[in-house]
Amino acid sequence: MTHFQGTLLIAGGVFVLLAAASALGAWLKFGPADSRPHALIDNFNLRIQAWWAMTITIGLALLAGRIGVIVLFAFVSFTALREFLTIAPTRRGDHQALVMAFFVVLPFQYFLIGVEWHDLYEVFIPVYAFLFLPILSALKSDTRNFMERTGTIQWGLMITVFCISHIPALLNLRITGYENRNAFLIVFLILIVQSGDILHHVCSRLFGKHQIAPGVSPNKTVEGFAGGIVTAVLLGMLLSWMTPFSAGEAALVSLATALMGFFGGLVLSAMKRDRGVKDWGSSIEGGAMLDRVASVCFAAPVYFHIVRHWWST
């Protein structure tokens, strides 16, 4: 299959699936729900709208090339960091650290991705932001909740900037026999994680009985977990033609990716519960940015490292 045929196939496939989901949503709304407000169906329709928006945005960014992808994910990081720090317990003394996080650390991380400085973008936030931002806060001599404040800022940067920046970083990998096709690595990652998410949601609704962590999220069940993981692995094998992996390898990579995605959703749910909020913000219809990308955040660095270690030259 040529590169062009592959692109057509995947774009067409996603389009058909989304169109089918939209049609189903419209039928549910005007048929069974009789155009009246219905929590479950309205939520489903909002999610479909968000998927359309996501698909179109990612598609356009991929068409625009490397810079387009980097700018898109820098924007995703910015929005997610904004949502994360909005509910963080920071105080006045953290203001300069927050300014640095938004306007220096975030752009610089994506600059490093852009210039392919691998050694530095892997340690810049975990080491240098980690060391320097608390200094700015400490200089303000306000020690109340200091551990919690500095810890939360660092966590926010790790999740929303460091982890998400590993998605565009996939374009930097050099894989023999896979030249100019790295964009497919991104499409593969997002499809696997998102389909795992969706099937988890559906299976939990349909068959969910045994809750995994009822204190964190009543919607995460063993049945949903199994459905999501199995779907992601099968889809990964089916889509292995677009990756440098064999079908068996694709199954293992998808398994690791989908597992991380699931636990990412779980961890971020626990954080929301701790802060007493249901959604992170209201920037995307059907939920906030961080709600949409929670699973990809956890999956991206692991996927990146697997591909880099075993496939890249």
């Binding site: 006045r92 927050l98 007493g276 249901k278 959604d279």
Partner: protein, 220 residues
């Protein structure tokens, strides 16, 4: 009331438009009208005060017809201190500028505000009197709002609660951080017949806290 079309005042109107867009963009705030509707009737909006951006946020959150008839009450010491601030407060925001310290001033601030209300405009004011930089939710309410309500008992007082603005641009900082803010308009109240000052100020205080509570997200 002011000339309201773009052609009559192109520069202030353009600045006003830009300021409104910029404020909405950087705060990400969408107004929640919880206790009253966004209709163009004369009101006194009173909010919690954490940041210089408070004015801009209330002002930017009002739909255009309401914004055109609403004037923020501002402290002369800050807003008359530079030509740019003077321009913004007088030409763009149509502010009602009052002296906060009584020394050397012959006119009571409350009289200036009452005069603005007689012109038919709404007001935005901060009954705490100054920005709250403490850890408490609110500072004690100053008595000014009671005296104003005595002069204009027929005008609705609308509580406005803003979350996170103090974190967006704390006192003394220059660069704002783009955290998401929220702004909620609560249930209006009026001075009741024979109500004494303490009772009324307590009601003002409680109305702000009630607006905050009704706006905070609750557990599913």
């Amino acid at each position: 009331m002011y000339p309201t079309t773009f052609m009559q005042r192109p520069v202030p109107e353009a600045v006003s438009w830009a300021l409104t867009r910029f404020t909405r963009l950087i705060t990400g705030a969408q107004a929640r009208w919880l206790g009253c509707a966004p209709v163009p009737v004369q009101r006194i909006y009173f909010g919690n005060h954490n940041s210089h951006a408070d004015f801009a946020l209330i002002w930017a959150s009002l739909p255009t017809p309401l914004r055109r008839m609403t004037r923020p009450v501002a402290g002369a010491d800050y807003w008359n201190a530079s030509p740019l601030r003077r321009y913004i407060i007088h030409e763009v925001l149509h502010g009602v500028v009052i002296e906060r310290s009584r020394e050397g001033s012959t006119v009571e601030p409350v009289d200036i505000m009452a005069a603005a209300l007689e012109g038919g405009d709404s007001l935005i004011l901060f009954p705490e009197g100054t920005r709250n930089t403490s850890d408490d939710l609110l500072l004690p309410i100053k008595s000014g709002i009671y005296h104003l309500a005595q002069k204009c008992p027929q005008i609705d007082l609308v509580p406005v609660w803003m979350d996170n603005l103090g974190r967006l641009l704390p006192k003394g900082e220059i660069v704002p951080v783009p955290l998401l803010c929220s702004i909620s308009f609560g249930t209006p109240l009026r001075l009741q017949d024979g109500e004494d000052k303490e009772t009324f100020l307590t009601r003002i205080h409680d109305a702000l806290l009630a607006t905050m509570k009704s706006a905070r997200p609750t557990e599913p």
